[in-house]
Structure formats: C-alpha cells, structure tokens
C-alpha cells in the first residue's frame, strides 16, 4: 500500500473552507459544493482503484451509531473511514438503550467525551440528527433518519447518474415506489432538482401524497406516464410489511401496476439506467432479469457508496 498525502488538486480536503460541520441532509449544499463532493468521490474511487491509501483521517475516531438495523450503509461507512486511516468504533446505541432510559442526547455526549470526532448516525426517528447536533459537539453524519433523509445515498446516486448520463441539468428522472416513507427519495428530490434535473414521482396515492408543491417535481399514478421518455429510473424498496391499509391492496397488486419490467423500461429513453438503493425485492418492485440487465447500475451504486462516504468524511474533517 502506498501512503498518499492530501493531493493539492482543486477539490476535496486539500481546499480549506468546507463550510458545513455536519451533514444532516443535502438540502443545505450549494451546487458547487455538490459538484466538489462528487469530484472528490471520483478522485477517491480512482485512488482506491490504484491501491492507494490516503490517510487523511489518521488520528480521527469515527463512531458508527446505528440505532436501526443496517448492513450496507454501516459496512460502507466502516470501509470508507478505515480506508482514510481513521479509527472506527461501533457505538452502543441500540434502540433498546432508549428503553433503558438513556436518552440519545446523553449517549452522544458520552461518545463525544470519549473522543469520537465524527458520529455516523442511523436512527428510526426523522430529525434525530438535528437533535444530535444540538446535544453534542461531535460532527454528525446522517446515515439515514426515519423517513426524512439519507444524504450519502443521494450523493452516491448522483455520482452514479453523472457517470452514466453526464450533466444532470435538464434530465428527467423517475422515482417509483413508496416515496412518502422513503428517506432515499426525499434526499434524491433535493439533490436532483438542485442539479437542474426534473423528477417524476410514481406510486399509489398514499405513497406519493404531499409532494405536488415541490419545485421541479411531478406526481404520477400511472407508471407508463412516469416512464415515458425519462433519462433514468430509480426504483425504491417496497417495505414488505406494508400490506392492506398500508397504501396498496397487496404486493401482487403493486407488482401489477408499478413493478418494473424490461418491457416497461422500454418506455424510457433507450439505454436509460436503472438504480435501486437496495436491498431489492425481486419480483415486487422489479424483476430479477431487470436487476441483472445491462441497464442496472445497482452494483455501481454500492461501489460509489464507499467513495462518496470517503469524500464526505474527509470534507467534514477538513
């Protein structure tokens, strides 16, 4: 492994003055900041591909506080932090610590005092990272809060789309599924519209309500309307526990009306890529053959996840 010093390029940690102490959502980022973030992530990806190991976070303690089950995001952050030379610790912030009477604020303050500089927080309550920044002095990285935001997912999706389509300005992206309960969709809405793309949301009424007032967003209930001529399609994971009374009569009915197939994808622009934040329910929101097809960028999303998380961790610590 080659030890790499901070590169003196125009992007990333080398440039001082990243103005944000925390990353709670992408809504506070300017277009320039998003671009800088994506450029740095691309740089990280290249460094990793070259087997280089930047130690920009040497001496830094990154704590993973996952109060909600997660495998992909936690592992991705862990690899990203370790790849930058940080010490990674798991923070004991089970959902059960709340029932034991210890508040989130108390837990995080304790972590700060033990020397954790950056807390990567995953929490079932929307807005928990905002409470976290008001409760302790560590940097807070939102790794998904309730149904509110998942900023690193949106950034890795943007990087994946930028690789596939080039500039996103003027592009149209369809997001299909349970938008209302999706933190991935919300952060993507902010980021895609900020970058100049327009977004079509598609799903049953209960899953798409409340979004009509968002700028750059249209809501469709017919999948054919949403897919017609779009540049890219993003499918969301259907929460399997949502059955009757939860927005759709049945998963079978959902699949019939909103499930993505290769035939339906033919309505989109030729070659339009398909994204999915994973894990997929094949046979529900998309077919197995579509997930395995050349349109599918699901694998790239996972790879870009590590690079994007390396980028944001180093930007916050800069």
């Amino acid at each position: 492994m080659v030890q790499t010093a901070i590169p003196s390029t125009t992007s990333g940690a080398a440039t001082p003055g990243w103005p944000h102490r925390h990353l709670l959502d992408v809504d506070v980022l300017t277009v320039d900041e998003v671009v800088r973030c994506l450029d740095l992530a691309a740089e990280m990806r290249a460094l990793r591909a070259a087997g280089e190991r930047p130690d920009w976070l040497a001496g830094e303690v990154v704590g993973l506080a996952f109060a909600e089950p997660s495998t992909r995001t936690r592992v991705s952050f862990e690899i990203a932090a370790a790849a930058l030379g940080a010490q990674v610790v798991e923070l004991p912030i089970e959902a059960s610590s709340v029932t034991k009477g210890e508040s989130l604020a108390d837990t995080l303050r304790t972590m700060e005092l033990t020397g954790v500089g950056t807390i990567v927080l995953r929490h079932a309550s929307s807005g928990a990272p905002y409470l976290a920044t008001r409760s302790c002095g560590s940097r807070i990285m939102n790794a998904g809060d309730g149904t509110h935001a998942h900023p690193t997912q949106a950034l890795l999706d943007a990087l994946t789309l930028r690789d596939a389509l080039g500039e996103l300005s003027g592009r149209t992206v369809a997001i299909v599924g349970d938008i209302g309960h999706s933190r991935v969709a919300r952060s993507n809405l902010h980021l895609l519209t900020a970058l100049g793309a327009s977004v079509r949301l598609c799903g049953p009424p209960d899953w798409t309500g409340g979004f009509r007032t968002w700028r750059g967003v249209s809501v469709h209930h017919r999948l054919e309307d949403a897919l017609d001529g779009v540049d890219a399609v993003m499918a969301l994971r259907v929460q399997l526990e949502r059955r009757a009374g939860g927005g759709v009569p049945s998963l079978r009915e959902y699949g019939r009306r909103w499930g993505l197939t290769e035939d339906r994808m033919a309505l989109a622009r030729p070659g339009a890529p398909l994204l999915h934040p994973g894990p997929t329910n094949e046979g529900v929101e998309l077919t197995a053959s579509l997930a395995a097809s050349s349109r599918s960028l699901i694998g790239s999303q996972v790879e870009n996840g590590v690079a994007v998380r390396m980028a944001v961790l180093s930007l916050l610590a800069a």
Binding site: H22, L24, D25, D27, V28, V98, S103, L104, A105, H123, S125, S126, G127, A128, Y130, L131, T133, R134, S135, D145, G146, T147, H148, A149, G180, R183, R186, G209, G210, F211, T213, W214, R215
Partner: protein
C-alpha cells in the same frame, strides 16, 4: 419587583386612574378610572380613605382572563407543574380562573380526587375550576359518577388527551350528561385515523418525513358528537379545535341552534406546522405563496413544537382566527401543557405533546390584534368574558361586579425566558423570542393574584 398573592387573602382597595378600560360585557372601551373594594368593582366615591392609587396612563384594564383548558399536572407529575405553580403562572399571564383538566395521575375520575385538587387550590393565586374525567380511568368505557361530581362544582367532563373513541360510549355519556346539565368537553381526534401520527398531514409533514394525521380525524368526531348532541340534548364543547373543516361543522351546528361550543388555542392561531421546520413567524405574517421552509438546524424537529392536535397549515390557522373574529369560536383556551426537558429534548416523534401557554397567551392575542386580525374587544371577549360565561362565571367591570381585573401594559415587551416564567416548566417554542404585552396586575375577586412593575403597588 413582582409578587404573587392568594385568593384566600383579604381583598385590596385600589383606584386605577386613567387606564383604557375595555369591557366586552358592557361593550365599552374608554379611558376611565376603575375602583375596587371589598372584592367588588365600586364607584370611586365609595372607596375608603387609604385606598392605593395607581396611575393607569398607557395601561389597559380588562376583565380577568378565564382559561377553559389547562393541565396543572397535580397529582402525579409535580416535577412539571403543581396547582400552586400553575396558578402563579396563570396570575402572571392575567388569568383569574383556570379550568384543571383531569388527565392527572391518577385521573380526576372520582369525587375524592376532584376534592383533592380543589383543596390544593384553596390558597392558590387564582381560582381553579375542575373538569372531571368523562370515563373511569379515562379508559373510554364506564362513565364517571357525574351527578356526585357535579355537586362538587365541576364545570364539565372530558377524557382530554383522547376522544371518547366508541360512539356507543360517547352517546351514553352525553345522554346521561343531559340530565346533569354539564357539557362533554371533547378532544376531537378519531384514533383510527390519527394513531401514531405526530404532525398534521400536508406539505410540511411530507417535507420533514413525519407521520401525519389528516383533518378528517378531527372533523369526523366533531360530526359524530354534533349528531349525538342533537339526539341526546346534551351540550358538547369541542376543545382545541385545529382545523378549518372542524370549525365549519361547528359553525353549521350553531346556525342550526344546537348546544355546541368550541375553543381554540393561542398556538393554533399563531403558529403553523412550518414551526416544526424552524419557522418562527406568526401565521398571519407568513405570505400565502411562501415556499417550503428551509430546515433551520437549530430549531428543526424541536420537541417544543410537538403538539396534539398538531400545528396545522397557515390556512387552518387563519380560518380559526376568522372564527374568533366572527364569534364561531367561543373561547381562546391555552391547553397549557407543562413538560420537563427530558420529555421534550428528545427525538420529535418521542417528545411528549404540548406547550405551556398561560403566560404567553395574552401576548400572542395582542400580536394578532396588532396585526389587524382581531379587534381588542373580540380578543378580550374570547379570553375572558365568553369562556367565563360558559362555566357560569361573570366577567364585568361595571360597578357591583366581582373584581376580576387584569391590568397590562400592551406595548411593553418581555423576553420569553426560563427565568421570566412562573410555570415550573418552560416548554414553548417561543423561548428566546420577544413579545409585547406585560401584565402588571391581576385581581381575582379583588384579591391580589399578581402584581409586577406597577408604581404604587410594588
């Protein structure tokens, strides 16, 4: 200097000279002298020598405020508030009567418990009237002994915190209440539509990713109870209505001559769901075409904005205000709901619902008057005269009336801070804001309830 008194003390003799006296009962609004002696409003000529004289120039004298809905938290949650501290907060806010809601621990569902609160209140700074539980344990099943409770002077029954969920139980409670002459005070929230939700549905809840309940959850209970009032002849009072839809039902029922009344809270008039995102402009200052608010990291998802019913949109807030202005809304009631920090400085969806209101209600009302949303007469009518009448009390500044009087400086400002509050709790999103309207003197039955910063009395 400020001082709290007791309703058990001797009445004061006092002459307030040259204040603007607003009395909705008489329909008067004049600069005048106001004399108080022996617990009554008297003719200045009948004051004994030695009565205190106070210069009222620039001050406003109004009938003592009456709150139909306050949580005094005693018994059971004395760390949040006690009867004594709530009554000090009330007197500090200009109230001479507060109605104590029954969702204490244990709930006020039997005579001994009601009498216990009444004993605690005997020497408090203002009068306390008790609302008893509608059902035992507030469980929504067996009705409380309303006849016996009525003998203790309760003003109504309520399972506040929840509606009586079962239409059958609600009907039987109301049918029996009709024989006692007391109202059901209903918290209109259909649990199967609202369960688990922490915000009002709309663009803001969607923006924040918070579970939200639709207006229909309120309107369906209001519709049901209006039908039951028609059928049983019972009075029903809807408390803390929060939506235009529910208010429209009440307006229709009143037009039909049904015994239906309602109150709204100062915060549902002044605040909107965008306060959960960090907005701090009052509803009437938010433009119609306002964009979705940016999340303010210092304020977004703050537990102090978690209320039940949840804050609604600008349109609902302004519709409620119009209801106060046209009289459809009978009262502005605080729903004063003290909570300690450990129940508020937590994740939004885990925060206990409610905010304190006794000490900020009048300032919020005055802000609405200043903004041109309400006349001063309508405000005082909704905060004093009309709620008092609903519970059988009188508010009048005419000679011979019981001296429930609040004197305030409408233009003086105060900073809402922990230290400025007499309440044992400080859970309000107004914390850190500056409000106009400072109470200088509160007299309950001629007794000094509160005095602060008044030349001649401190």
């Amino acid at each position: 200097m400020s001082r709290f008194g007791s309703i058990a003390a001797e009445p004061v003799s006092l002459l307030l000279r040259g204040a603007r006296v607003v009395d909705p009962a008489a329909g008067t609004d004049d600069v005048a002298d106001l004399a108080v002696h022996g617990g009554l409003v008297v003719d200045a000529a009948d004051l004994p020598s030695g009565a205190v004289e106070v210069n009222g120039a620039g001050l406003l004298a109004i009938p003592g405020l009456c709150d139909l809905h306050a949580h005094l938290r005693e018994p059971g949650d004395e760390a949040s508030e006690t009867v004594a501290s709530a009554c000090r907060a009330a007197a500090h806010g200009g109230y001479t009567t507060v109605c104590a809601m029954p969702n204490t621990l244990p709930p006020l569902d039997e005579a001994a418990r009601v009498a216990y609160v009444q004993r605690l209140a005997a020497e408090a700074s203002c009068r306390v009237r008790v609302v008893a539980a509608a059902t035992r344990g507030r469980a929504g099943e067996a009705q409380t002994d309303v006849g016996e409770l009525a003998e203790l002077g309760i003003v109504g029954v309520s399972d506040d915190g929840a509606a009586i969920a079962s239409p059958r139980v609600a009907r039987s409670v109301m049918a029996y209440l009709a024989s006692v002459g007391l109202p059901l005070i209903e918290h209109a929230e259909e649990p199967s539509l609202a369960g688990g939700a922490v915000m009002r549905s709309g663009a803001i809840a969607t923006r924040l990713g918070l579970a939200a309940w639709p207006s229909s959850a309120e309107a369906t209970i209001v519709q049901r109870d209006i039908e039951l009032a028609l059928e049983t002849g019972a009075r029903v009072h809807f408390t803390h209505l929060s939506t235009a839809a529910a208010l429209a039902e009440v307006r229709r029922a009143k037009r039909d001559g049904l015994p239906v009344t309602c109150d709204v809270t100062p915060h549902h008039l002044a605040m909107t769901d965008s306060w959960v995102a960090g907005e701090r402009r009052f509803a009437w200052d938010i433009p119609l075409d306002a964009d979705l608010p940016r999340l303010d990291p210092e304020r977004a998802y703050h537990g102090s904005t978690r209320l039940n019913p949840p804050l609604a949109g600008r349109g609902d807030a302004l519709a409620l205000m119009a209801g106060v202005a046209d009289g459809t809304v009978d009262a502005i009631a605080t729903d004063h709901a003290p909570h300690p920090p450990e129940r508020k400085l937590v994740e939004f969806d885990r925060a206990a619902p409610g905010i304190i209101g006794l000490e900020t209600a009048l300032s919020l009302g005055l802000a609405a008057v200043r903004a041109g949303c309400l006349s001063l007469d309508a405000l005082v009518g909704a905060m004093a005269t009309r709620p008092a009448k609903l519970i059988g009390e009188e508010r009048s500044l005419a000679v011979g009336a019981r001296a429930d009087v609040t004197v305030l400086d409408p233009d003086a400002t105060w900073a809402v801070e922990r230290e400025a509050l007499a309440s044992a709790s400080a859970n309000t999103p107004l914390l850190g804001m500056e409000l106009a309207g400072v109470v200088r003197l509160t007299l309950a039955g001629g007794r000094l309830a509160y005095v602060g910063g008044l030349d001649g009395l401190d």
